[in-house]
């Protein structure tokens, strides 16, 4: 029989040593160990999540039982009258988050537009990395800088300057003492900026080249291309970045606690000190008496977790919807 092969392979026959080794390996129960590990890991993870939720719920149950649902919106602190100022803290959270968003979105989207569309290619990449770097700085350091550097600077220079701008007068009346809602909003803006920039930039870069060319071919200037083709095309990504930034701003506690000054009344000006859910927890948990007081603080934590979870889930859904849309 003719063959193309260089040599004729021998007929198949079992090699004794190999068969013995395979038999030995099959007897060891390694496979089961792996399954235990896997499932164990998943179980522990699940247990952690469950423990988190149940502890928060049970820890706050006493407070909810005592104050009732008005715990969620009451604006004054009066234990005898059964009022806990959660409403103050919620307002504080919302206001500081709003300030942070206004600043971060304005600066962040413009920065993203610069990095994605208007900057020379060689410079854009390292600059993006630099903008991202602040996300790596621990919040305690940002808080320290905010407290010891920004606060005096704001009290002595920035806030008096801003008070002279006529439009902002109704937002910024009252004495400028340093710790304030405005300062907290600025610190939060600094911390969520990398999120907004990175996601907006990805969204803008993902806009189809064809849309940009279409605008270009019609005679658009560079900024017109950005305005008509890029930003509308990136809108859903930008929305996602805003939502996730909002979630981050709401959840940030330690830096805010250091710069917001702590009060129990709803402030009437951005220059006044205030409190957020997070800062209230940090400042009150230590001294809270075990029992009702502490339970009320845990209720604050529960509200905070619920709000941030909702916002974050919303942001994730937006991101996923966008991913699906661009794939089609």
């Amino acid at each position: 029989m003719t063959t193309l092969l260089e040599e004729v392979p021998p007929p198949l026959a079992p090699v004794p040593g190999v068969a013995r080794a395979l038999r030995r390996r099959r007897r060891r129960p390694g496979g089961r160990l792996y399954a235990v590990l896997r499932i164990g890991g998943a179980l522990v993870f699940g247990a952690v999540v469950v423990a988190l939720v149940t502890t928060l719920v049970s820890g706050s149950s006493q407070a909810f039982g005592h104050f009732g649902p008005s715990l969620l919106w009451s604006g004054t602190y009066n234990v005898t009258k059964d009022q806990y100022p959660t409403g103050v803290f919620i307002v504080g959270t919302l206001v500081t988050t709003a300030v942070a968003l206004v600043l971060a979105v304005a600066v962040g989207v413009a920065t993203a537009a610069f990095l994605s569309e208007l900057a020379p290619r060689a410079v854009a990449a390292p600059l993006s990395v630099a903008v991202d770097l602040i996300a790596a700085v621990p919040s305690i350091v940002v808080g320290l800088w905010g407290l010891l550097v920004l606060s005096p600077a704001f009290a002595h220079h920035v806030e008096p300057f801003l008070k002279r701008v006529p439009v902002l007068e109704w937002l910024l009346h009252g004495p400028a003492l340093g710790p304030s809602m405005l300062l907290a909003g600025v610190v939060l803006a600094v911390m969520i900026l990398p999120t907004v920039v990175a996601l907006s930039r990805t969204a803008m870069a993902g806009v189809d080249v064809a849309d940009r060319e279409a605008a270009r071919a019609l005679g658009a200037t560079r900024w017109q291309v950005v305005r008509t083709a890029v930003i509308p095309g990136a809108r859903s990504g930008i929305e996602a970045s805003v939502t996730l930034g909002m979630g981050r701003a709401m959840g940030e506690t330690i830096a805010v606690a250091m710069v917001i000054g702590n009060t129990y009344t709803i402030p009437h000006s951005l220059l006044a000190p205030g409190a957020t859910l997070g800062s209230a927890v940090i400042n009150n948990f230590g001294e809270a008496n075990p029992g009702l007081d502490r339970s009320a603080v845990v209720a604050l934590v529960l509200v905070l977790v619920a709000i941030t979870a909702l916002v974050n889930v919303g942001g994730q859904l937006l991101l996923r919807a966008r991913a699906r849309a661009t794939r089609t």
Partner: protein, 284 residues
Amino acid sequence: MTIDLDPTPSDAPIDGHDGTVVTAPTPGGAAVSLRDVSVTFGKHRVVRDVTLDLAPKRVTALVGPSGCGKTTILRTINRLHDDTGGRVSGRVTVGDLDVYARDTRPELVRSRVGMVFQRPNPFPTMSIFDNAVAGLRLNGVRNKKVLREAAEAALHHAALWDLVKDRLSAPALKLSGGQQQRLCIARALAVEPEVLLMDEPCSALDPIATAKIEELITHLASEVTIGLVTHNMFQATRVSHVTAVFLLGEDRATGELVEVGPTAQIFDRPADARTLAYVSGQVG
């Protein structure tokens, strides 16, 4: 309307083998002329020494296998290489405008030279109406009455008006592929360009949409100078008056213009052996 498969020019004669058309300046369409135009990207020269004219009221087809520079040359006319980093040498004129002169603004060139791309690209977040008038808005036309008239005229010219007149505010992406491409043609036409460049406009479309657009092209030729890049030789024979053949040069890296002439002549009795090889299917 029937499609004339062998369009013969009704006025000015085609003079000479290089396809240079001798005509008096016509109100409709401007003459585009390229002289010794080369385009280089980095170290790689993509296409070289192209001398070509696009005659008013005519459709000039640029044909050839892919990679031979047809699209690259087309994009020199509206300075799209400014954005992509291609260096253009040589001289390009549109009517009386020197496209690459120092003081020529690319935005103004592009408002006189319209372009339709390979894949339909209406602005996805805009309505049909907004797409149609996008070019006008970008160029500073704000008057609502003017915009509405222009949209209607342009959509008529693109044979789309009857289809969309009742849903002008619908999103542009609701249209089919062929309709979107006609919308893009309308968008380009609304700016009243003197030249319309079409880069393989039918390659992403089905045969019926393709036939509709080919019919449109033959109608449009009477008002705008049309430069049409196509890899489909039959399309060239169907709609163009003049055909320019691009092939890879000796070095197999740089494209060049091999021959240009009346379409019928190019496909029946080409002067250059390489053209003959291409049109008979031996090459590309």
